[in-house]
Amino acid sequence: MIASEWLYVMDDRNGNSNSGLHRVGQVPGAEISAMKKLLNRLLAFRGPMLIGIALTGFAFAVLLPGFQLAGRLDDTTAALRLVSEQRRQADVVAAALGALRDRLDSFGYVDEPLNEVRNSMAELDSLERTLNAATDLGGRFAVSASRPIRSSPELAADLVTFQATWQRLRLGLVPVVAFQGVPYADSEASGVQLNEGGRLLVQESRKAIVVARRDGAQMSAALGQIAAALEAQSTQLSAFLRLLMLVAFGGTLAVGASLTYYALARRRQALLLAEARLQTEGILQTVKEGLFLLDSKGHIGAAHSASMRRLFKRDPVAGLSLQELLAPIVPDRTLRTALRFVEILWSERTKENLVRSINPLQEVEVSFETGSGGQETRWLEFDFHRVRNDGKLSNLLVSVNDVTPRVRLGRELAELREKAQSQVDTLLGVLQVNPEQLRSFLADADTAMRMINAMLREPAKEEASLRGKLEAIFRQMHGIKGEASALGLTTVQSRAHEFEDALKALREQSSVSGGDFLTLAVRLDDLFSHLESLGDLVERFAQPVQAAAAPGDTGRGLFIVGAPRAVVDPGRAASGLIDTLDQLLQRVAGDRGKSARLVTNGLEVVPEPYRRAVKDIAVQAIRNSVVHGIEIPELRRIGGKAAAGTLTVQFCDEGAAGYRLIIEDDGAGLSLRRIREAAVERGILCAEDAARLDSKQLLPLLFRAGFSTHAVADEDAGRGVGMSLVAEIVKDLNGRLGISSGEGRYTRLSVVLPSLQRVQSVAVA
C-alpha cells in the first residue's frame, strides 16, 4: 500500500470526521510511529486521569492528616494554655491562706482572701472538669483540651495524680471557705477579739496551710508534668506538621511539574500537528495531481489537493460524492462501472493488486461544457489506493492525472504510423501500376480536381444551382474513384469514397447553403495533397531510372514519367486502356467472389479526343456489369453458363455515322422488377406508375442521377452515380446512349459518338 508510507490518517477528535489528512511527510519508521502513537494515547487519555488520581491521593495522603494534625495541635495548645494558667492556683491558694492568717492575726478584713481561695477552688474544679471531660461537645472542629489527655495514657496518669492531690487539697480548703460572716467580736470590755467562728477559722486555716503546703506542691508538680508532656506533644505535632508540609510541598511540586509537562507535551503535539497540517496543506496546494480521500460512504474528504478544482472545473469539491463528481463528465455506463469498481475496493475479498487492470477510470475520456456551449474533451487517469488505519480499511486515496497530452500524442503517433503505412501502400500500389496508366490517371485526376475546385469557387446562391453544382462535383469525383479503383490505388479510392460520402450527406440535406461546401473544400484539399504526394513519389522513383530506361520500353514498373501526352502512340494507349479495364474487372470481380474475362475489340482505333470518354464510360459500365450483371460462379453453373463471365468491349468507326462503343456482359440481365421496386423506394415513381411502365420507359431510369438498385453503397456500386455519369459524358459529346437486356442472358450498353469531322464542322460553323 503506497499511501501508508507517506500519508496516514488520524481520527479527528474534534468531531470533524472529514478533515482526514493530518500528517504528510516521511515518518522515520514503523517503531517510532508506534511509540508516538502510544505516547499520544497516553497523553490523550491517561494523562488527565493520572493527574486526577495523583491529586486525590495527595489530598488523602497529605492534606487530611495535616488537617487532623492541625486539630490535635490546636487541642494540645488549648490544654497546655489551660494547664499553664491554672498551675499557679496552688500558689494563689497558699498566698490567700497566708493572707487570711495574717488578717486574722491583725483582725483584718478576711473576705478578700477567702474569696480568692474560693475563686481558685472554682478554677481548679473547672480545670479538673475540663481535663476530664469525656465528650467532645463541639465535634471534631471544636477545640477540646481533654482530647490530648484522653488519647495519651501518660497524660491520663498525670491527670489522676493531679485529681488526687487536688481532692486532698480541696478537702482541707472546704472548712475554710465554709466560713461565713465576721470572725471578730467587738466588745467594750475586751476590745476586738476573735469570736467562736473566728477561732475555728484560725484553726482550719492553719490546717489548710499545712495541707496546701504539702498537697499544693504535689498538685503543682502534677500540673507541671502535664504541661511538660503537652509541650512535648505539641513539639512533636509541630514537627510532624512541618514534615507533612514538606511532603505537601514536594507533592505540589511534582503535580505542578507533571501538569506543566502534560501541557507542554500537548502543546508540542499541537504544534507538530499544526506543522504537519501546514505541510499537508502546502503539498495539497502545489501538487499537480488531483488527490483526495473517499470515505466508506463514497464522499470526498475535506483535505484534497487544490488542483481538483482545476481538473474537474468545480468548486467546492469536498463533500461531493464520487458519483456527483463524475456524473456530468463521463457517460452513464462508465459511471456505473466506476462506482461498482470502487465498491469492490472496499471488499476485503478483493486483492487490490489484482484488480488494477480493470480500473474503468484508468484512462477515461471526460467532456466539460465550455462557457460558449461547446464541449471540451480531456483524458483523466484515476488511480485508487486503499488506506488502512490500524489494519482496518478506512479510506480510499484517489489520485487523478490529466493525461490529455499523452493520449493526444499517442493518437498522433498512431495517425503518423497509419499515414506512413498508407504511403507504403501507395508506393506498393504505384509500383504495380503500368506507368502509362498512372501518368494518364494523375493527369486526368488533376484536371478533375481543378474542375471541382473551380466549381466550388464559382459563386452560387440559389438552392437549385447549388444542387446542380453538387451533382457535377459528384460525377467528377466518381470518375476519379472509378479510375483509381481500376488501377488498384486504394488510398486514392478510399479518399474519393469518403469525399463522396460527404457529398451524399449534403445531397440528402433538406436545404443546402454555400457554407456547407466549406467542409468539402477541406476534404478536397486532403485528396489534392494526397495526389500531389503520389506525383512526388512517382517523380522520385522515376528520375534515376528513367535515364537508364531504354526508349520504347513498355514494361511495367518504375519507368513512369515518359513522353509528353501528345505523342502517345495509339497502340500503347490502347494497351494501357485494356490493362486498366482488365485490372478493374479482375479486382471488382475478385472482391465479389465472381470470375470474369475481358474481350476487347477495336480499342486501338479510338481517336485521341474520345479516349478519355471511352475510358470513363467503359470503367463505369464494367463496374456496373460485374456488380449487377455477372452472377457468382455457382449461379452461372446452375444456369448452364461458364463459371467465368465474359465482358466484351467493342469500338468501331462507322464513318459518317460516327463511332459505336458497345459494352456487353453475359450476366443476369436487367431485372425490371428490381428497377420498379427501386424507383418506388426512391420516390421516383408511385407503385401504380411503376407497374404500368414497360421496359423502354423504365430503362432510362438507370441513367438518372442517384438511382441505384443497391440499398447500401460501397466503393463500386450503390450511389446511383455511375450510369448517370455515363449519360452525362455522352450528352456532353452530343452522343446517343442505349441499353438493352435479355433477362438471364445479357446486358448491352450501346453508345454512339458523333464522327469527328462532323464535330469539327459543327465547331467551325
Partner: protein, 127 residues
C-alpha cells in the same frame, strides 16, 4: 511428526482447451494441486461438487453458464474459495461485475508465465 505442507486444490475453468492446458502447465505454486478443469460454468459446478476445490481460475465468456454467474454460485457454496478471473480485457464492466460477485482478482489474457504465477501467489496471500 512432520505435518505435510497444506495443499490447496486448483480447478481451471476455461472454454479453450489450449488455455486450460497452458494454465495447468505454467502454474508453479508448490501449494497448489491441480485437480481438474471445466469448459464452462455448468461443468465447473459439477466438478466442484465432486472435488471441492479451494482455488479457481475462471474465464468469463463461456457457453452454457458464463463466468460471472459461476463465480457467484461457487462463492455461495464455499465462501472461503479464492477465484482468479482470467479473461481478455474487452469489457471492463463484466470483469468488475465478476469481482463484485466475489472473485478475488483479475488477470488479463494474454499473460506470461510469470504474470500467472505472480497473480496466483498474490491470490493465495492472506489478508
Amino acid at each position: 511428526m512432520v505435518m505435510p505442507p497444506a495443499t490447496l486444490k486448483l480447478m481451471i475453468v476455461d472454454d479453450s482447451n489450449i488455455i486450460r492446458r497452458r494454465i495447468e502447465r505454467s502454474q508453479q505454486i508448490d501449494s497448489l494441486d491441480f485437480i481438474g478443469s471445466a469448459a464452462n460454468g455448468v461443468e465447473a459446478l459439477e466438478l466442484f461438487e465432486t472435488t471441492d476445490p479451494d482455488v479457481v481460475t475462471m474465464d468469463l465468456t463461456m457457453p452454457e453458464m458464463d463466468g460471472v454467474e459461476c463465480v457467484e454460485r461457487l462463492v455461495a457454496r464455499k465462501p472461503s474459495i479464492r477465484i482468479l478471473v482470467i479473461s481478455a480485457l474487452a469489457d471492463k464492466a463484466t470483469a468488475v461485475e465478476a469481482i463484485a460477485r466475489g472473485a478475488n482478482g483479475f488477470l488479463c489474457k494474454p499473460f506470461t508465465d510469470r504474470q500467472l504465477n505472480d497473480a496466483l501467489a498474490e491470490l493465495l496471500q492472506d489478508g
